[in-house]
């Protein structure tokens, strides 16, 4: 596995997508194709595409648009030759009232009305934070970032409404302002934090019990910094009763040909 990961690390975005397409790679994409933008995926029926695009336009922090495709088009401009229905390591399929199913290929269930949205993911700004000398505990500990549902309402759009999901990273108080400054430079990947300290003010009652991902300790002298999280759209689509949509599986992103800047 260790050698396999090191082999994977040297592959280009296109090579990794081809492995996904052939079912040979189904793992998480963190740390792969370094230097390239990775994106969250939402595929939903055309009937809901305007509402969702409007939702993203009104809520750019949790839903930063990387690319939106025409209904029935699955080859994004940011990755020529790719197919959004097969080139991710894993998908989640949501039917209203059911637990989401996992799959590695959704070609058979995507008709010509399905509309693809690629949204910025936090890997880009995490890289920038580490470059700026801000350690990230969940990376050091090899865990998923801790994520929490909040009481912060998103701006509703058409039939879509719901609260924001945030990710939390503990930052030394002396570096908190720098962390804001650095992440604010990346408006296409969630931008600056939405909240600092005082988790109870956004409805987070116990940092040790995240709603998604894994808890990490907040040490003395550190502040919890909360960023808008890309899990928000899945939660909002479910909360709004959308009958059918597809997302990437957690941690299994779409790897684009675009370079991080």
């Amino acid at each position: 596995m260790e050698s396999s990961l090191s082999q994977l690390s040297s592959l280009s975005p296109g090579e990794l997508r081809a492995l996904c397409r052939d079912g040979q790679f189904t793992g998480p994409t963190a740390g792969l194709a370094r230097g390239y933008v990775q994106a969250n995926l939402i595929l939903l029926p055309q009937e809901y595409a305007f509402d969702f695009l409007l939702f993203c336009q009104r809520n750019p922090k949790p839903c930063p648009l990387v690319e939106v495709l025409e209904p029935g088009c699955f080859e994004p401009a940011c990755a020529p030759g790719a197919d959004l229905r097969s080139d991710l390591p894993g998908y989640r399929i949501y039917h209203k009232g059911c637990l989401p199913e996992e799959s590695t290929d959704v070609r058979k269930i995507c008709d010509a009305s399905m509309t693809g949205f690629l949204l910025g993911c936090s890997f880009s700004f995490e890289h920038a934070l580490m470059e700026a000398g801000i350690p990230l505990r969940h990376v050091e500990q090899g865990r998923n970032v801790a994520m929490y549902t909040t009481t912060i309402p998103c701006q509703p759009a058409g039939r879509l409404h719901g609260n924001m999901v945030v990710s939390m990273r503990p930052v030394d108080a002396a570096q908190a302002a720098l962390a804001v400054e650095v992440s604010a430079r990346f408006p296409k990947v969630h931008g600056a934090p939405v909240h600092i300290g005082a988790p109870e003010r956004i409805g987070v009652t116990d940092l040790a019990q995240p709603d998604f991902g894994e808890a990490v300790d907040v040490l003395p002298g550190e502040l919890p910094l909360f960023w808008a999280c890309g899990v928000t759209p899945q939660q909002v689509l479910q909360a709004s009763g959308i009958p059918f949509f597809i997302s990437h599986a957690p941690g299994k992103m779409f790897i684009t040909d675009m370079c991080n800047v």
Copy 2:
């Protein structure tokens, strides 16, 4: 007229919108409600709303979104109590194959499918350019800015396609970089120029013959600076054969309650 204009200048956005609604003001809005954002308007049937929102998302320089409303909703968040169908001094109504008609009220022709888009207009960055000490000839001469169709293709979106329209402002060569720097700070109102000098490179063969607005001289030592222009969406919707849409009449913008920043 002079005293009327000076009386108008002291009115708030809400007072000006009320005069429009009552048919008492039907003139251009340049110079009115100083300090407040003015916006271009597009109203179109829901059937085309996703394509147009996608077009704006892909072409933010000519189509910088200020606000998008739900179909059938005409009271924008940026101006509570306003009605987009009556609170502009003038409208243009476009039916495919016909010359546009002018009107001062479109309430009767807007059904519940009509979807409103407010787009940034250049007044905000023109104010910032003048504050930075860059004189604007068309303002000094009391003319409309010169606008030109170009050969620069916009990114198509669904059924929408067409070339960019640009506005031209001559700037002293010594101030050209400053003009770029200042306008780049306003991505919500067209941002930095799309082209500097060499008009023939973007298909503009004669600066003295603008396609819209009025020509101004480019003096020795000056460069023509070209910015993406808010006339682009009207041109694109017409070029794409959209059967019916409404825009603001030239120079007759929607005055919001938002302050310029």
